[in-house]
Amino acid sequence: MKIETREAAFMGRITASVAHEMKNVLAIIKESAGLMEDILSLGEADPAAHKEKFSRVISNIGQQVGRGVDLATRLNRFAHCPDEIVSSADLNHVVDQIVVLSRRFAKSKQVSLEAGLPEKSVILVTDPFRVHMLLFNCISVLLDLAQAGTRLNVVPVQPDHETAKVIFSSEGADRNGKSSFGDPTGWEEWRGLIQAAEDLKAVIEPGAGPVVLEILFRKDPR
């Protein structure tokens, strides 16, 4: 499998971000365990006096373990997405996955990033890795443009049996101002599309206000 610099950089950004989150999870668990140890060794003689605090700390540890497991599961799924060049993928799962994996980038920009997932699956026959990368690039572009405190929504929709769309809209976006692109069928088109997502930054003015992007996919381009 040929991995180009751009693909490697994308994998690196996601992996580094999740690794950073995992370190935070482990740091909280370590401090929580350390606090219980401190109470037993430095605090009052009767640890039962601290029952409420112990319950809270144990609950924190449980929450952080859940957060860590979720991150590890998502990273594992993400690491396997280049396994097949073409496969069936549920667009809802891909959007959910990339939104969660991108949240640290959104948080650093003080932007709330949310996925609006329909109940019904949206199945594509596609290159799963490049769908992830394309969606991430669109999110990155919009995060660069977004003002702190805004919300960015990512919503997969299925307008008909043949096509599917992913709509990115920043808070209060006017659909009249939308930019549409999409329908990748081959490697060159994927490359062009991913480049187009990166080039969006040059054509959308920073601070231009709410933005809508749409990517159109044919559900089975073979």
């Binding site: 935070n24 909280i28 370590k30 401090e31 929580s32 350390g34 606090l35 430095l42 650093s108």
Partner: protein
């Protein structure tokens, strides 16, 4: 270090509140701030003797906060925390005037040692 005023700054609330409790159990007067802006306010009002500052935070980054601290309170010792695998941010922070840096997860004994050393340096003495 009984009564030492320590300000802990990190956007991971559970981390920073738990670490503050651990320092309080050791007699320090530990306060917390969840972002850079809040940290600068606390520094102005509570006059901490040492600041423990996460590098990667939303809004003002740890390095941005460090620059402002060093502009207004050059003698205030700042120890950086980084969750990043490389030491690049820590080294950059020391170039900007941080007393030292530590990587998460922490060893509390190491943090206390670094605080002691930073206070010693700020007082102009050898540690």
């Amino acid at each position: 270090m009984e009564g030492l005023r320590v300000l802990l700054v990190d956007d991971e609330e559970d981390f920073v509140t738990t670490l503050a409790e651990r320092l309080r159990l050791r007699g320090m007067n530990a306060e917390t701030a969840g972002n850079g802006e809040a940290a600068l306010e606390r520094i102005a009002t509570a006059a901490p003797q040492v600041v423990i500052l996460d590098v990667m935070m939303p809004g003002l980054s740890g390095l941005d906060v460090l620059k402002r601290i060093k502009a207004d309170n050059p003698q205030l010792p700042v120890i950086l925390l980084t969750g990043i695998g490389s030491t690049k941010e820590g080294v950059e922070g020391m170039r900007l005037g941080a007393a030292d840096y530590l990587m998460k997860p922490l060893q509390i004994e190491e943090l206390i040692q670094k605080i002691s050393e930073a206070l010693g340096k700020a007082a102009g003495g050898d540690v």
